[in-house]
Homo-oligomer: 191 residues x 2
Amino acid sequence: MSQELTDHLQTNIQLSEEDALRISARFKVLKVKKKFILLDEGASCHHIYFVSKGCLRLYFLKENGTEQTTSFALERWWLTDFTAFQNQNNSAYSIQAVENSEVLSIDYQGFENLLAEFPILERHFRIIHQRANAAAQTRIRVLYEYSREHLYHQFVLKYPGFVQRVPQYLLASFLGISPEYLSEIRKKTFS
Amino acid sequence: MSQELTDHLQTNIQLSEEDALRISARFKVLKVKKKFILLDEGASCHHIYFVSKGCLRLYFLKENGTEQTTSFALERWWLTDFTAFQNQNNSAYSIQAVENSEVLSIDYQGFENLLAEFPILERHFRIIHQRANAAAQTRIRVLYEYSREHLYHQFVLKYPGFVQRVPQYLLASFLGISPEYLSEIRKKTFS
DNA sequence: CGGATCGTTGATCAACTTCAACGGTCGTGG
DNA sequence: CCACGACCGTTGAAGTTGATCAACGATCCG
């Protein structure tokens, strides 16, 4: 039973406390330590995850062997490899805990059942996904619009607290730059 | 009344022909010529668009004055600046017809009313948006994973017919490269 | 036919990567 | 609690990728 999930469920729709609890009970609670791997690239992706505490990251292995982080998920974010989840095939990404975290998970069938039993949730997830889409549009835009250096400065301005929470090499990976270059950028900034 | 829309609406949900027609009737039909601008950057974004025939593009103006295309929408795709649409404020993008097109549009309030009257549509759009999210995840991934040159080759392989439909400078813009560099890539390819 | 737009070419330049090396720090086992 | 090793961040040199600018040829359309 997670307070974060029941709160979250009630943000977009009218849902009784009872129903919120009944829904919340369908999720499995995972308490994971920093660096724990929830989903391994190549494994079948049956679950969707909700972060109730902590932080996860989604990443994959590039041809040159380095890890490329494509997203972080903080409290109250949903995360999975949506392509694999929908099509019920193997994941092209891994998911790892960046901090000690509490994560709720539900598998594909459980999720479908939930939507069938509580059709009001269709609206909730329609809104969640529509917003995620808006965010993705913006994300793609800034990748086109700005230099990597500018991207770093923007990120620090936008998420000042978050920069402290992740090691620098993960931030570099997320921004799509080498740790060395990020180091150079930071040096420039402070001098 | 658009055959494309009624067909599209019936792909994810059970919907009677009558209801499909009744829904479809709420959309305004726009027949636009190539290069016609449906939405102008900075204008208020009240509508969401469904492409029934032809092709649209979403783009914005970069600081250096060049246009950056971030997506194309082909038949049966939904398109808008989702951030602006949701929040009912001004658009950060423009939308232009790439070819002579037929487009259906509905404004924010009309869309909300439709969802209220036909709640089954929540499911339809939940699925549409979930899929769009999966696509965005993949899009972001390839932007990180591959060189611009590789991106071009992949694109040609994946959408061989589409490359013929758009002028080369728009393709370059979408790939995030200069027309000159695209020209160079093509030269290398054929020699 | 004439003008504007589009694609190409080559030269120079900026952004960012790669590699190798070094110093600091953190956590773990003795 | 200390010592050691692994990992992390930094530095500098050399190399790549792709942008920018200017000029020219081709093509499309009125």
